[in-house]
Every structure is written in structure tokens, then in C-alpha cells.
Amino acid sequence: MNDLAAYTTSTGEAFQFWVLGTVAVVGALGTVLMKKAVHSALSLAGTMIVLAVFYLAQGAYFLGVVQIVVYTGAIMMLFLFVVMLVGITAADSLKETLKGQRWLAAVCGIGFGILLIAGISNAQLHSFAGLGEANAKGNVEGLAALIFTKYVWAFEITGALLITAAVGAMVLTHRERTERRHTQRELSEQRVREGKQVPPLPAPGVYALHNAVDNPGLLPDGTPSALTVSDTLRARGQVRDVSGEALDSLAELEQRSTERLGRKEVGK
């Protein structure tokens, strides 16, 4: 492989390519086809990790590590944060605004892919140079030499771009407060004036097996109280009522034991 021109990669790399390439394509399809945004994000993260392995296999050691740190580490986490902010349950609408747009898009995509792949297959490449010579002094050293000589201007522009992006994100997400924030005293006075729920809200329910915040506490008459669960969970319909579970399982246990005991008595 240290020749200037190689003709084929090692068998190990070929095996790795076919296995991980399949994973990458499945991940990409999952990104497009999964209904929920979280599943799409996780599929995309898988594809990106596979691509990082491919970079490492092709001698781009620095890029492989950067791919994991920047893409799967930073960018995908940013995506997940926004998905959480916007709402995990916000599934895609399946209604077509333009008639037949989905099918046309799929056909266009397939045609584009065929053109692209046919163009590459026309190239007829039989040998390749390999990075043995370029990476001889180390991949990171080689990249650094290029970045700080040939591409130094682009590198400096990159700094300006990053600062602009940071400022832009802050400007876009900043929200000006239009009215004064109420103090705690004003809020409590307002509660007393309106006369509803003056003491603190009751705590969520604590059961033998469950004490999470989505379990409502019980009122004296045995009905679950909506006040004990936060508004957000109630709005999402994620309140989990487990108050009946213990009694149900107890009844089940009793029934089973009487059955077994009864059978034994019959057997005697």
C-alpha cells in the first residue's frame, strides 16, 4: 500500500465498507422516513458515526475525530435540544399542500441519484494515489501546514463567520420583555385577591412502586387530583394514574392463591 499508486484497498477495509456502508444508508433512510423528529435525529447520528469511521479508514484521522466531536457531539445535541424545545410529539403532517408533490419529489430524487452515480461510474478509475506520502509526517501536521499557509485567508474568514453566527443566534433567540416581571410578593397578593389556591400546590402522589412527578396524588374520596401534576404534563396528556395498580395486582395475587389452594384441597 505504500506504493505511489495502489489498485485496490485491503480486504478488511472492503469488508468494513460493505457492512458500515449498509448501516449508513439505513440510517440515512431512517432520517428521511421516520415519523418523529427524535428518531430521525438518532438515525442521522448513527450515519454520522459511520462516516467518521470511514474518514479514519481513509487516512483522514483529524477529520474523523472532528466529525465525532463536532457533528455527533455538538450539532446533533443541538438538534436534540431544539426537538425537545419544539416538542417531541410534534409529528410531521401527512397532508400534501401541493398535489402529488411527494411522488414528484421521490421521482426527482431517484433520477438525480441515477445521474450522479452514472456520472461517477463513467470516470473509470483504476489506480489511486493513496495518502501514504501526504500523511508521512502525520495527518494533523500536514493539515496544519496547509491551513496556516495556503488556506490561511479562508481560515481567518472562518473566524468572522463563526462570530457572526454566534451573534446571529443570540439576536434571533433573544426576546425583549414587554412588561415588568412580577415580584414574588405581588404574585402572592394576587393569589390572595383572586382567592384560588392560596397555599402551595399539593405534591404528586407517592405509591409503593411509583413516586415520579407524573403520578397524581389521591383526594380523600380516592379520585386522582389534577392539581398535583404540573400543567405541562397535563397539557401533553402524560399523567399516569397508578392508584389502581396496587389493588389490581393484590386482587390478582389473591385470586391466583385461592385457585392454587383450592386445587390442592380438591387433590387431597
Binding site: 484497498t9 440515512a28 428521511v32 454520522m48 466529525q67 419544539v86 410531521d92 441519484g113 454566534a166 434571533l172
Partner: protein
């Protein structure tokens, strides 16, 4: 195996990403598909770098990553802003110039 196979994979991933941008209506998923296309082009750059035996392709891929990071930050900020004012992340709902 010839490294050109990496180029085929790159083209395939790029195509899937492009089709996703056209098909999906959720702005966040559209954005993820754009990321997929950027990643596919990065793979092509790294493969070209190997085929030619110099590191320029890797440098370009590195700059692509920087631009992608900046783009994600601004794009997601825009999506969050739109979601705040319209309570929806669907690109169909953002068809009017004002609320």
C-alpha cells in the same frame, strides 16, 4: 475494492438527503437532511483527497464542517423563533410573510 465505492456511497447519501428535503414538511427534519447532504459531500472530499494523494480535499471538508456548524446554529435559532410565533415547526405553516 476500489475507493470509488466511497464516492457511490456519498452520491447515494446525498440523493437520500435531497429527496428528504423535498419530501419532509417538518423544518427540523428538513434541516437534518441538509446536514446529511453536507456530510455526504464531505465523504466525497475525503475520498478525493485519498485518490489524489494530497490533503487539500480534507481541508475543504474541514471548512465545510465549520460552515455547517455556523449554519446549524443560525438555522435552529430561526426555527425556534418561528416556532415561538406560530407554534408550529411545519414549513407549510410558514407560507405567509406575517402572522
Amino acid at each position: 475494492m476500489n475507493p470509488v465505492n466511497y464516492l457511490y456511497l456519498s452520491a447515494l447519501l446525498f440523493t437520500i438527503g435531497a429527496a428528504g428535503v423535498l419530501i419532509r414538511r417538518n423544518a427540523i427534519v428538513v434541516f437534518m437532511c441538509i446536514e446529511l447532504m453536507l456530510n455526504a459531500s464531505n465523504l466525497a472530499f475525503v475520498t478525493f483527497s485519498r485518490l489524489h494523494g494530497n490533503l487539500d480535499g480534507q481541508i475543504i471538508a474541514f471548512f465545510t464542517m465549520v460552515v455547517a456548524a455556523a449554519e446549524v446554529v443560525v438555522g435552529l435559532a430561526i426555527i425556534v423563533t418561528i416556532f415561538r410565533s406560530r407554534h408550529s415547526a411545519s414549513v407549510d405553516d410558514a407560507s405567509l410573510m406575517k402572522l
